[in-house]
């Protein structure tokens, strides 16, 4: 394997406390090493550029059945949005629901090394893994959804944390999943009964449990197992005006829970796309709707065991997709566009609806503001990660635009004054106009690398340039001394990295993709638990009685579905 030394870049690494020092970064045999330890390395000149560890995405929808339904039912998403292949580069297409090939290339161009698929329906885990394998370059994992799963609902109703944990461990091994995702806890199951869970105390019909119990039980089980990632929740009442109270109730469930893991993770609850959950008022009209980002952040800033990602609305035409079936049903009736929904047997559901966040409407502009406010109000950027809940609040390729807005008050002012039609009402109903903070490159490295890596329990592999970590390095054509005049330079640079080294392999050379990556890995977590005859019996019983498939057709077999697995072993037998 070739060794690389990246010379004279401005290096940002919050884990090592390096803040823009001009340094050399070296990679040998696929790992970061001290620059003095390499001798015959290929030199890459990064002078005048920004160097960071490759980025880590904690939450995006880029592989799996609902992404594919999005691709299938939105051929117009690929219209005039397609590059033919050239050299090693394969054909890529799509905007909000890109092909797997484009997803891999987009991540590479934005300097990412790892991405977590945020919602894997267990029954369709095989499909999810097939797409992951077809997505080039980046390492990936996937979070199976648990928040509306019949096993979980039944165990939690009886306060059986140990059984919940044993079931989680079993399901992670079956689906080759990475951690515990919980979408609209109880609400998606309730929707099967024509209802929803709008607060944390609404009771799920038949199962007789509440979202509060589900979130609490899943956190307890997650920590009992000591999984690398914490419980990852998309709370109830997403997108509803006035939902911030429900959000605070959800976050407060983490009180009293302590992280238990060997991976350096400090949070017990990760709330995803928090932007959609920080709304006040009673309607989407400018006289009623208001941002409650500050109220939610005041609470988050006072805690030490909660993390979140932003879910910034990028004001594009996109494709929404979530396991929150009732929400998508609701959305389809708001915009009268096409709609797909599915029920996934005893596990979950999902829905897909195209959506246009129109900058000429008050509400889209207000949503844009709320997402950025969260990133600007957080005290410790290690808790707040940049996402667009891709593609729900905006397409994956918009990350660099979000960085621009977070890093430049001028760019935000330009939006409020010149792009958004209701800039003044947005200033009046949201906090955006009062916030002059500009996220620094050092803080950006926390929000896109060090932070998400730590919360995923992957701080020992990603998110820093510390010797021994994966050889994942991104060089961006951004000069922190002379490029500060124009915020557009931020967006350009972070979407077009000059160099990407992934796992020690040169992927992007002088801005061009030169390799599709030879060692793409799928991460999953194997949690060993003590034998649990109750759970084993329940599983075999439910497969016999309810599932349309047998267990033999359910398990994700390693050899076909993940040719290059990376297993994180966890021992929960004690």
């Amino acid at each position: 394997m070739t060794d690389y030394i990246i010379r004279n870049g401005f290096v940002y690494d919050p884990v090592l406390g390096i803040n823009g020092d001009i340094m050399d970064v070296a990679v040998r045999d696929g790992k970061i090493v001290d620059a003095g330890d390499v001798t015959k390395a290929t030199e890459i000149d990064a002078s005048g550029m920004t160097v960071m560890a490759a980025a880590v995405d904690i939450h995006a929808h880029v592989a799996g059945p609902k992404v594919n339904v999005g691709r299938n039912f939105r051929p117009e998403d690929k219209l005039f949005n397609c590059n033919v292949g050239s050299g090693v580069k394969r054909m890529e297409a799509g905007f909000s629901v890109p092909t797997t090939i484009r997803t891999g290339y987009l991540y590479a161009r934005m300097g990412f090394g790892f991405s977590m698929e945020a919602a894997m329906p267990p029954l369709y885990a095989r499909h999810t893994h097939e797409e992951i394998v077809d997505t080039p370059i980046i390492d990936q994992g996937a979070l199976p959804v648990f928040g509306n799963n019949w096993f979980v609902l039944e165990y939690i109703k009886e306060n059986e944390v140990e059984n919940t944990a044993a079931y989680i461990a079993w399901l992670l091994a079956q689906t080759k999943g990475y951690g515990v995702k919980c979408v609209n806890p109880g609400g998606t199951e309730s929707w099967g009964w024509g209802m929803n869970c709008e607060t944390v105390d609404d009771v799920v019909p038949y199962f007789d449990v509440t979202p509060r119990q589900i979130v609490d039980g899943l956190i307890a089980a997650n920590e009992m197992l000591g999984l690398p990632h914490c419980m990852h929740v998309h709370g109830n009442s997403l997108g509803e005006p006035g939902n911030y109270g429900v959000t605070l109730d959800t976050l407060k469930i983490a009180e009293g829970h302590k992280p238990n893991n060997e991976f350096g993770r400090e949070s017990v609850l990760h709330h995803t796309h928090l932007q959609f959950h920080c709304y006040g008022g009673e309607s989407y009209a400018s006289k009623s709707f208001e941002s409650k980002s500050k109220e939610v952040m005041d609470y988050v800033n006072s805690t030490d065991n909660i993390t979140f990602d932003l879910g910034v609305v990028t004001l594009d035409e996109t494709t929404t997709m979530t396991a929150d079936g009732p929400f998508e049903f609701h959305l389809s009736h708001m915009n009268s566009l096409k709609w797909a929904n599915t029920d996934v047997e005893l596990e979950t559901g999902s829905g897909i609806v195209p959506f246009i966040y129109n900058p000429k409407t008050f509400i889209a502009g207000a949503q844009w503001a709320v997402g950025l406010e969260l990133g600007l109000l957080v005290k410790d950027p290690m808790k707040a990660y940049v996402t667009t809940d891709a593609p729900n609040a905006g397409p994956l390729m918009r990350y660099p635009r979000v960085y621009k807005w977070l890093m430049s008050a001028k760019a935000r002012e330009d939006m409020l004054n010149n792009v958004l039609k209701y800039g003044d009402s947005i200033r009046a109903r949201c906090y955006i106009g009062e916030l002059d903070r500009e996220i620094s490159l050092y803080e950006l490295a926390m929000m896109t690398r060090a932070g998400p890596a730590k919360t995923l329990g992957l701080g020992h592999m990603f998110g820093s340039l510390k010797a021994g970590l994966e050889g994942d390095v991104a060089v961006y054509p951004y000069n922190p001394e002379s490029d500060t005049d124009d915020p557009e330079k931020i967006e350009y640079a972070f979407g077009n990295c000059a160099t990407l080294i992934k796992g020690g392999e040169l992927i992007i050379k002088e801005g061009e993709v030169v390799s599709n990556g030879r060692q793409k890995r799928t991460f999953w977590v194997n949690a060993k638990t003590n034998e649990n005859p109750v759970v084993e019996r329940d599983i075999s019983e439910k497969f016999k009685r309810y599932y349309t498939v047998t267990q033999n057709n359910y398990t994700v077999e390693g050899h076909h579905y993940m040719p290059n697995p990376y297993v994180i072993e966890v021992d929960a037998t004690k």
Partner: protein, 266 residues
Amino acid sequence: MAKITLTPTKTPTLRLEAENICPDSFAGKSNEEIANLHVFVGKESQALGDYFEIAGESGSTAAETTIVINGDVNRVKYIGMKMSAGEVIINGDADMYVGAWMSGGKINANGSVDAFSGLGMTGGELIIKGDAGNYLGAAYRGDWRGMQGGTIRVSGNAGSDVGTFMRGGTIIIGGNVDVHVGTHMEGGTIIVKGDAKSRVGGQMVKGDIYVFGDIEVMMPGFQYRKDVDSEVDGTTGSFALYEGDIGERHGKSKGETIYGKLYMKH
């Protein structure tokens, strides 16, 4: 107005995708540069000049450019795609997507055109002397934004799915149309001077459809309201007004529910 003439010199083995045959692409270019514009043949990119003899000259802007195609281009797609101004005259038959997404200018197709012509167009004029294929003035596959403005006039017949997801503009068919007219229509006007088969205005939300001849099978979601006299594209007559599609969502204006309107000539 500068005139540039394209004469087909050989028949492509696969269909030619030639969105560059467009005043916007030609404007300000020398004939040599125009000959070098790409056309796709399957996945291969080739030169326009490999398939056409180019004579005359193009104008400095699209508005000052007239492109005349002398000969059959029934294996050439996307002529005049996305054009914003100027003129294209096709002396022969053309393949699919003629004038698709055009926003201005004028296309005179003196022969027939295949499917998806005038797709999603927002302005300009598309005049077809022969027949039009399916999905005239409709939306692209999956899209909900069909024709939004401008005029399409067909002297002959049109195929199925005329004006699917149409939102504005006018389509006039001199002859007959096949099934599905104005499906999901949300605005604009379709005038059929001949007969229509069936499924006229299915899931129509808003807009006007006139049929001068017969509709073989009427949609069940349309209700007769009253007779009205009006002048439609130069023809005065009495029409039976139906409203629908009753099964679809409908907006309100000044307290009144707005339906799609289907006028049948007595």
